[in-house]
């Protein structure tokens, strides 16, 4: 009974956490749906899943020790989650590369434009040290 209470408390607080993050707009809809359904699933499982069912299913797939089967499911879920995150990270970095390139193109300096030629001739031309082109440190 103690373990049931612990599972219940954990999953309900997870559910609350997801809802709060969603209401504060920390989670985008797609991600929020994932977490919401994951925590709901946790609540339902901890509330209703009879232990003998787990035993039966794990025997069905050939796992003798049913908690190990549960662990396998958890690891699988986490693997899928990490893969999903890795994919979105790659998408994000592709977008970021395009943005960095765009910044470079927007701030490109062409010495051959008339503006630059005029700047070259102006007396208060910045020295190399204070050159706006010198990279940040």
């Amino acid at each position: 009974m103690k373990s049931f209470a612990l599972a219940m408390v954990l999953s309900v607080s997870f559910l609350i956490g997801s809802v709060v993050a969603m209401r504060r707009q920390r989670l985008r809809e797609q991600t929020a749906m994932l977490w919401l359904s994951a925590s709901l699933f946790m609540v339902v499982v901890s509330a209703t899943l009879p232990a003998h069912l787990i035993d039966r299913v794990s025997l069905l797939v050939g796992v003798a020790y049913s908690p190990a089967f549960l662990l396998l499911l958890a690891v699988l879920f986490l693997m899928i989650l990490v893969f999903h995150l890795a994919l979105s990270l790659d998408r994000l970095s592709a977008k970021q590369i395009a943005l960095v390139q765009e910044i470079g193109l927007l701030t490109a300096r062409d010495p051959k434009t008339p503006d630059e030629a005029a700047a070259d001739q102006s007396p208060e031309r910045p020295s190399e040290g204070s050159d706006p082109l010198s990279p940040r440190h």
Partner: protein, 291 residues
């Protein structure tokens, strides 16, 4: 996404049309709008372009912390190809690369963070596309490439024989000798590229290359990120560009170290091999690339 010549379609109107800012470039998003210039029309304008003797040439020099050699490279390039426009893509250098390049007379694109060679080179191609250049030439910022050989790269493109030329160390000119391990790696890469691209290249890792408008448009849209030389050969072949290797001289590096050395070279080989074996190098999509 259909195959039907996305390369050709991206060529807006050849050299006689004003290829101004943004013309022909896709957003990095895959769901870009497709404008419908028929392939045969684009090809005709490409032929017209190739007939032009005085194509506008942009020389792209990617540079990361090359303050020691960049000015000399630019001076040599300007001396060798005075009519060309030189642009240095300063890939988030922490030294005075940008200032030295600017003083030496190059246009300078400074990337606020380091993107790596692929991202920097692609930025150069995007610049060339937007500024309406007909030919883009890639030269390393470490003075390994001899700018007097640029004309050799240009000739097949100007003559309309090729859409992309690659300067090769192994075709007889020069006396560049690589260590045994590196030679083995290069042979392995050549074999993989031959298998994926259908062409034989003697120098797959050469960063000394030139592309015409079709190649500029392709690489502006899609370019592999990390170690792009090898993958971009396959990408170009699979997109119907005609590639040609040109014998060139190369000299050892003046300053700094190659980005591919020591234990990293093994990692490099593994990654490129994986990319070539299972990467989505078909058409204009690369698994590891910016798209």
């Amino acid at each position: 996404m259909t195959r039907s010549g996305r390369v050709e379609r991206a060529i807006p109107g050849g050299a006689d049309a004003t290829v101004g800012a943004d013309v022909g470039e896709r957003s990095p998003n895959r769901a870009g709008v497709h404008d419908g210039i028929p392939a045969h029309e684009a090809r005709a304008s490409q032929a017209k372009l190739q007939a032009l003797e005085h194509a506008r040439v942009c020389i792209v020099i990617p540079a990361f912390n090359e303050a020691g050699s960049i000015a000399r490279v630019i001076q040599r390039v300007i001396a060798a190809v005075p009519e060309a426009h030189v642009v240095v893509v300063n890939d988030g250098s922490r030294d005075a690369t940008a200032a030295r390049a600017f003083q030496a007379g190059a246009a300078v694109i400074t990337l606020p963070v380091n993107l790596g060679i692929g991202g920097a080179v692609q930025c150069g191609y995007r610049y060339a596309l937007r500024q309406g250049y007909d030919i883009a030439i890639q030269v390393d910022g470490d003075d390994q490439h001899d700018p007097s050989e640029i004309e050799r790269l240009l000739e097949p493109i100007r003559a309309g024989r090729a859409d992309m030329t690659i300067g090769s160390r192994w075709l007889g000119r020069g006396d560049y000798i690589a260590p045994v391990g590196r030679r083995f790696g290069m042979r392995l890469l050549a074999t993989l590229v031959r298998w994926r691209a259908g062409n034989t290249f003697t120098d797959t890792t050469s960063g000394f290359r030139a592309v015409g408008l079709g190649g500029i448009a392709l690489f502006a849209r899609t370019y592999p990120t990390d170690f792009p030389e090898v993958e971009s050969l396959v990408l170009a072949s699979r997109n119907g560009l005609r590639l040609e290797e040109v014998p060139v001289r190369m000299t050892p590096r003046l300053h700094g170290r190659s980005s591919i050395a020591g234990i990293r070279s093994a990692y490099y080989m593994a990654r490129v091999t994986v990319a070539l074996l299972i990467g989505g190098l078909n058409r204009d999509g690369l698994g590891s690339g910016t798209d």
